[in-house]
Amino acid sequence: MNRDKKIQEEVQKTMNSLNKLERLEANPYLFTRIEERLKAGVVTPAERPRSFLQLLQPALVACLLLFNVWVAYNIFDSGPTDITYVENSAYDFSYLTVEGQTIENYIPE
């Protein structure tokens, strides 16, 4: 019990130490220092010039997108193929033709 009481006393004294903190006093030369930094062109992180690679990044992304679009276009719009379907009206079904000839020519007897 005494130990717990002692602990709580220490805790309270430490919490109360904040009430005795000294306040820092203002620096009379602060304005002059800031003025000098502004005149010297202090660069904040937001204003820091970007590296060449960072400047190139948007252009690289745009190129990659265009390349993907071009590839997709070439895949889905490959133009006339050698294989076409021809409707055979006599038999009412379609024949597959290869290079302008019916597939029958390619079926081994």
Partner: protein, 191 residues
């Protein structure tokens, strides 16, 4: 100078208005920053950065809050950024020391402590700072603004962008957490 007049003159780039701004608010900013970093030199550097940021961003200040609230927000933000940098540098220095690459430049500024002059209250303040470092960020901000700056709850709520009841809750939880951590600390110390 009236705050509206001061703001208008700042936006027009009036140098004298900027001097008035610094004279009016530098002590609050310095002590707010010191409440987080507990190092005079760093607090002064941060104070400069806060006012440079104010100078650069004054055109964006819409007057929705008081000028002092806006300045406090910048001070808190810069202080937290500095604390994050410190942690990052500490981690980097630790890993460098593991592989034998540590140098003097890697050492992070320690809180002000003069071992020859530390009296009991200063020792306790140093222990408090250690415990504050372990609080969740929001609780730490609210508690620091309340205890170190003496800001009223309403102003803390405006600085943090939370409700008054949220501020009260944060400060209450901060105090409870600090007492718990201190209890553990002293329990271990008295073993």
């Amino acid at each position: 100078m009236d705050e509206n007049v001061l703001t208008t003159k700042l936006k027009s780039g009036n140098n004298e208005a900027f001097r008035v701004l610094i004279d009016t608010y530098q002590e609050q900013v310095l002590n707010t920053c010191n409440g987080f970093v507990r190092n005079r030199e760093e607090a002064e550097d941060l104070t400069q950065e806060v006012f440079i940021e104010v100078f650069r961003s004054i055109q964006n200040f819409r007057g929705d809050s008081k000028l002092s609230t806006w300045i406090y927000r910048i001070a808190v933000s810069k202080s937290l950024e500095e604390l994050r940098n410190r942690k990052r540098l500490k981690r980097a220095a630790y890993f460098k020391s593991l592989i034998g690459l540590e140098n003097a430049a890697d050492r992070v500024a320690a809180p002000d402590r003069n071992p020859h002059q530390l009296v009991e209250d200063q020792q306790r303040a140093a222990i408090m700072q250690e415990m504050l470092d372990k609080l969740p960020e929001n609780q730490r901000i609210a508690f620091t603004l309340h205890k170190y700056e003496g800001l009223p709850y309403q102003e803390i709520a405006e600085v943090m962008g939370v409700s008054l009841s949220a501020t009260e809750s944060l400060i209450h939880r901060a105090k409870t957490n600090l007492k718990k951590k201190l209890s553990v600390y002293y329990k271990n110390k008295l073993i």
